[in-house]
Symmetry: C2
Subunit: 204 residues, 2 copies
DNA sequence: TTGAATGGTAAACGTTGTTCAATTATGCTT
DNA sequence: AAGCATAATTGAACAACGTTTACCATTCAA
């Protein structure tokens, strides 16, 4: 079944995703183009388009890789810290830190917009869900008494906020007057929000 | 000085910005192109490029318009509500609501990325600053005793978080299981964060 | 009524995503 | 071994993009 360079369909796809990843890491999302990827793996655009529906699917695969990396890091932190509150704080900081360490990849994940008719693949949505469910787990063990709805509300609120800090941190250095580092903001957010949320729960 | 259609330089610029705004409102940021804008105002691309450095400057002007609209709304809410805490809550909700009512424009503001060498114009940065300073004002009057650094930290933390909820609200309907509406998240964030923050201040 | 300056155009360049007819290489069958 | 069917691969083409520039035309100053 193999041809020319003895590359399986799967191998070509893997090579293309790798090439896309390095392109993103070096030049950012804007640096990715079908022709560049094709040239990097020693094929032409035509071949690329027999292995991927379009350029968005390719980028989505590269982004899914980054998301998996992030998930692995967060899961590790989760395992390493048994105490519920420090755990969430560390997870939030790791999230922020990941965005800083892999800035280009991070931006690629959240700035990449797919066309209106593009249906997000299951395997991609699964990563997003895994992320949110990790947070939900962490929040649940922080306040085991709360019912599912409350846990969901708190974890989504918290994580949207954490995400907001990460977003505004990147690119725009809104915090250029050095005192208010993103880490400080993160600390302020998580401790204040959660302390009030826990306190509210102990009243009931 | 006027030519062909008796349009001043300023008039052409205004027309182009208007055309860009309606394009964004109708088709989103991706629907904007130099040729489309030019055609809409009855000129050619060449003329457009004599009035704007590049397409980014044009989009920036359109986005600045939206930002001003937003600012006006927020300022109105600020004036209408004298009580410090309800004021912040209403401002946050208005922020969220604006994003929902003008989704395309909102996305255009925050998804538009300018090239690496592009220096953000002062008149644009001024809008961003005005936004943050409005929040800072509101937070300051919530806790007049705090020093400037603490106010800055809290207002930036709060607003990054508010922004995060708005961001995750748009496009991706992460909250499709209806119970956790963005309004609920917003309420949860602002009340919990601020109550803990105020409490912390009253201790000192 | 000239000459200079400016407004405006149209065509061109290089890039993008995407498609597709033509070609080439392979595996299977005879 | 020869030929055929099938699949992989190519390269050219298309439309649209941002941007530049040589050129034309209109106006103002002299």
């Amino acid at each position: 079944m193999a041809r020319r360079n003895d590359h399986t369909r799967e191998e070509i796809q893997g090579m293309a995703i790798d090439a896309t990843r390095t392109l993103i890491a070096k030049e950012g999302l804007e640096g990715v183009s079908a022709r560049k990827v094709a040239q990097k793996i020693g094929y032409t655009v035509g071949t690329l388009y027999q292995n991927f529906e379009n350029i968005h699917e390719l980028i989505l695969h590269a982004n899914a890789f980054s998301l998996t990396q992030l998930l692995v890091e967060l899961e590790k932190v989760y395992q390493a810290e048994p105490r519920a509150l420090p755990r969430i704080i560390r997870i939030a900081n790791t999230y922020l830190d990941f965005g800083q360490r892999h800035e280009k990849q991070w931006i690629a994940i959240f700035r990449h917009t797919l066309p209106r008719d593009f249906i997000m693949p299951d395997w991609y949505q699964a990563r997003i869900d895994a992320l949110f469910s990790l947070i939900e787990r962490a929040v649940r063990e922080l306040a085991p008494g709360r019912d599912k709805k409350q846990i969901q509300l708190a974890s989504r609120t918290l994580w949207s906020s954490v995400h907001g800090i990460c977003i505004l941190n990147i690119g725009n250095k809104l915090y250029s007057d050095n005192i208010a580092t993103p880490q400080t903001l993160m600390q302020s957010l998580v401790t204040h929000y959660l302390s009030a949320w826990i306190q509210e729960g102990s009243k009931a």
